[in-house]
Amino acid sequence: MEPNKEERQQQQEAAQKAEFDPSEIEYVIYGGEHHLPLIMNLVDQELSEPYSIFTYRYFVYLWPNLSFLAFHRGKCVGTVVCKMGEHRTTYRGYIAMLVVINSYRGRGIATELVTRSIKVMMESGCEEVTLEAEVTNKGALALYGRLGFIRAKRLFRYYLNGVDAFRLKLLFPIPEINPVLSMIAESDEIHTHDQIPQQECQELQQGS
């Protein structure tokens, strides 16, 4: 039987908010083939664009150190998939997919996942980090904005659904001028009153 409107609303609310303490979330670096189905399920479930298995393998085989998974009591609730490499004259990191399942959003999981990847990129000598996000994805834009990304470009009808994208970029300070470490120390304070976005996913365009 179809639940009535009130029941549906209650169910939705329950589904929207999973009860947990942030300390219960366990963050794990990509550990091999056994993690692949977890990542694929999550992305298939939350992002509209279907990716072939080759796309996932391209990322996690070449840059396993940049992919992270978030678990809550054994259940995979979020993941980030990235790459890095030469781009023209720079060495840059690229965030390909970031997903947190709906009921776990708004609690800083995506921020933590992506922060871990960015730290590895920075330590690996990347000069900048980049990604694309739909102009309508306010949650993702706010999240990356807080991390220091700027909206460098707008990409006209970037996605197949006709929506524009922003190219977001994070430029790391040149170490001599601005010691990175001191800033990271500073950042702890900021995270305590972080406002968390509602939606934290962004998409990779195929073949880009």
């Binding site: 006709g162 994070l170 430029l171």
Partner: protein, 728 residues
């Protein structure tokens, strides 16, 4: 792998029954499934057999065979158009019942219009307009005059549009648009399509007259066979067909039909979801199959395309016609300044690709403005050079020739969509800077030091000087457009507004300076200017003689400076809009936002340091002292009357005046809040600071768009009210 098994499998050939690609001399079709199956048995998870040049990245663009979302070769229903035709998918006539035939023809016309609009909006021609089987087999419809002529016109229109867009081609936006792999864009005799359509129109018009005469019991003057046999529907059908045939030329007729659509709808099934329908009647059209052409829609995998609704398609075409009307009625202003203003104004209505392509072709043809004015003559006029320069040999100078090319490129770029335009403008800034330096060097080599030669000595010296100044002016104009477009594209976040307005301010200063120099030189006052500088009474008199374009820029400039300073003061005194981030600082964001300007030294000697120097110590008292907003308001008032014959510019000045006024009020309010509640000036009172953050955050959203986009008075008003209520 089991080698022998695989070989055996490979030899085992099955010629495909419905292959549309025949085997060649040295090739035959063979079924590789057994080979693949044998290979797969040997593989474990995560393994891949590949050649040396095939890596994981290449694997990412692999297509999964038999997945309808990826495999464009997959057979959906029919193997070929012929097979679809044989199966009666697109019958001619559409129905043996003439009434139904007319109904169906109208549906086809509607759906084709929706397809065309969908194509214009970025989808492939193959999967939109050419999903119509009647279009794909031009000869089949020859016995059906209405359908035949309409299809011919549609094909001819598509061809014409593809040609305009390819001629105007500037970037990838057009790639998918102009792709017409193997589609019959040109049918024999299509060039006669208009006369055919005219004949059809004439016949239907007579049928309409005849049926009107019959219904009003008047004598029928001619013996005309009706369109179809149901006399009650004859008039409505005739009108429906006429307005469809005439639509591109008389859009109002289509509008008429929108109002009488209910009557037509009565013949179809009235269902929910009007907004989804691609035909006026709501019925699905006969003779379309998007899957037949999916192989022609490469290089992207076929995608399920949602055809725009009939309503949206009509809206789209009305806008297109309106935009084309603006382009056609443009008076071909010979001054570059006028052209630039027109293009910028035109772009404000966000015209689509087709209208922009037409504008570009109008502006630039054969390397001339409007295909008429040689570009050097345009530069001569723009740089306020004497008339004789037009025929001067200097135009053969290689850098002057290059400069001409830069002007043409700039005009083309200004006709592209805002996103692309900004990127390209950012890049050409460097070219403009380089040409300036090259011209300057060429100038020095030829004439030595500038100061040692008097202006009258050599006309070349004069020309070079004027051109150099004008190149700089144009460079700053491009820079200001680049910065402005950032707002339109929503590239700046509120905590970056301060630096953006500041940069805009420094660019505008230079732009105003160069513009002033050009205008005063051309009116011969340049020489007097220096001498009279110290005479204060005459200084005032001179003030009033500041040319209008310069005053206009000054108004912008005061606003930009005021906004930047107000944001800086808010940050310095009330600690709002600060944006510490874990990985970088404001310095890096400054570098990123203005990278292209900085690379091109626009302006010279401007850096993050200069931004910090001018904003770090800004206080509200500074703002009150300098009265930026009041000055802007005063200038706007002053120049308003001069634009009384130019409604667009008048509206712009009015907006500037409003923005200045609103921000003046806002500034007063902020100062009073600060005075009433000194705690706001102290940092780290979480609640207070949260409150003020909220107020100011909202306030800024009111400010920034006001500055560029049509103002939203209700928003500004509500902000002020919101603000006052908080103080009370």
């Amino acid at each position: 792998m089991d080698q022998s098994g695989a070989e055996e499998a490979a030899i085992h050939r099955h010629p495909p029954e419905h292959s549309s690609i025949p085997s060649g001399e040295n090739s035959v079709w063979s079924d590789v499934s057994p080979l693949l199956e044998a290979a797969c048995r040997e593989l474990r998870d995560g393994e891949l057999i590949h050649g040396d040049n095939f890596n994981l990245f290449a694997a990412m663009s692999a297509l999964e065979i038999m997945d309808p979302k990826m495999d464009s070769g997959i057979v959906c229903k029919y193997y070929s158009i012929d097979e679809a035709v044989e199966n009666g998918v697109a019958p001619v006539p559409i129905s043996s019942d003439k009434t139904i035939d007319v109904q169906c023809t109208i549906d086809i016309m509607d759906h084709l219009l929706a397809c065309e609009a969908t194509w214009h909006n970025g989808h492939s021609l193959a999967q939109t307009v050419f999903s119509c089987i009647y279009l794909l087999r031009p000869d089949r419809t020859s016995s059906h005059a209405i359908l035949h002529s309409y299809c011919r016109v549609i094909r001819a229109t598509c061809k014409a549009v593809v040609s305009v867009v390819s001629d105007a081609r500037t970037h990838e936006e057009e790639d998918l648009f102009t792709m017409a792999y193997g589609l019959p864009l040109h049918g024999d005799g299509d060039e006669k399509c208009l006369s055919m359509l005219n004949a059809v129109e004439e016949t239907i018009y007579r049928q309409l007259r005849a049926c009107k005469a019959t219904s009003s019991k008047k004598r029928v003057s001619e013996d005309i066979e009706p369109l179809q046999h149901n006399l009650d529907l004859e008039e409505g059908f005739c009108k429906a067909l006429l307005c469809r045939i005439r639509f591109p030329f008389f859009p109002c007729s289509y509008l008429y039909e929108k109002t009488s659509r209910k009557r037509l709808g009565a013949f179809g099934t009235c269902e929910d979801g009007v907004e989804e329908r691609t035909t006026a009647s709501g019925r699905a059209p006969i003779g379309f199959d998007a899957s037949l052409n999916s192989r022609s829609s490469a290089p992207t995998p076929p995608r399920a395309i949602k055809i725009l609704s009939w309503e949206k398609a009509v809206q789209y075409f009305l806008k297109l016609l309106h935009d084309l009307d603006i382009v056609c009625s443009y008076s071909l202003d010979p001054s570059l300044e006028g052209v630039l203003r027109f293009v910028v104004q035109f772009q404000k209505s966000k015209p689509d690709l087709i209208a922009r392509a037409h504008l570009q072709l109008l502006l630039v043809q054969d390397g001339k403005l409007y295909g008429r004015d040689p570009i050097f003559a345009v530069i001569t006029k723009a740089a306020a050079l004497p008339e004789v320069t037009k025929n001067h040999d200097i135009q053969k100078n290689e850098y002057i020739v290059q400069l001409g090319q830069l002007v043409i490129n700039m005009l083309k770029i200004l006709c592209t969509n805002a996103a692309w335009q900004r990127r390209k403008l950012g890049k050409i800034l460097q070219d403009w800077r380089v040409i300036y330096v090259q011209l300057e060097i060429a100038f020095r080599n030829e004439f030595g030091s500038v100061s040692s030669i008097s202006d009258d000595e050599n006309i070349c010296v004069k020309i070079f000087k004027h051109i150099l100044n004008w190149v700089e002016e144009q460079t700053y104009w491009i820079a200001s457009r680049y910065l402005m477009l950032g707002f339109e594209l929503d590239l700046y976040s509120p905590n970056e507004y301060c630096m953006v307005y500041w940069y805009m301010y420094v660019v505008l200063i230079k732009l105003a300076e160069k513009t002033h120099l050009r205008i005063s030189v051309s009116s011969g006052t340049a020489k007097k200017k220096g001498k009279k500088k110290k005479d204060s009474s005459k200084e005032v008199a001179k003030e009033s003689r500041i040319p209008l374009p310069v005053l206009f820029l000054q108004c912008h400039l005061c606003l930009a400076e005021g906004l930047s300073m107000m944001l800086a003061a808010l940050r310095n005194e009330l600690m709002v809009l600060q944006s510490p981030s874990p990985f970088n600082t404001e310095h890096e964001r400054f570098i990123q936002h203005f990278e292209l300007l900085q690379k091109a030294c626009v302006p010279d000697n401007i850096s993050y340091l200069s931004f910090k120097e001018s904003t770090t110590y800004t206080r509200f008292s500074t703002l009150v002292m300098y009265n930026y907003f009041k000055n802007a308001q005063r200038i706007a008032k002053e120049i308003k009357s001069s634009f009384s014959d130019d409604p667009d510019r008048l509206a712009e000045v009015r907006r500037l005046e409003q923005v200045a006024e609103h921000n003046g009020v806002a500034l007063n309010v902020i100062c009073r809040v600060g005075a009433l509640d000194p705690s706001l000036k102290r940092r780290r009172r979480p609640n207070q600071s949260q409150n003020s953050k909220l107020i100011f955050g909202r306030l800024f959203f009111g400010l920034s768009p006001d500055f560029l986009i049509p103002p939203n008075p209700s928003l500004s008003l509500s902000l002020s009210l919101h603000f006052s209520s908080r103080i009370l």
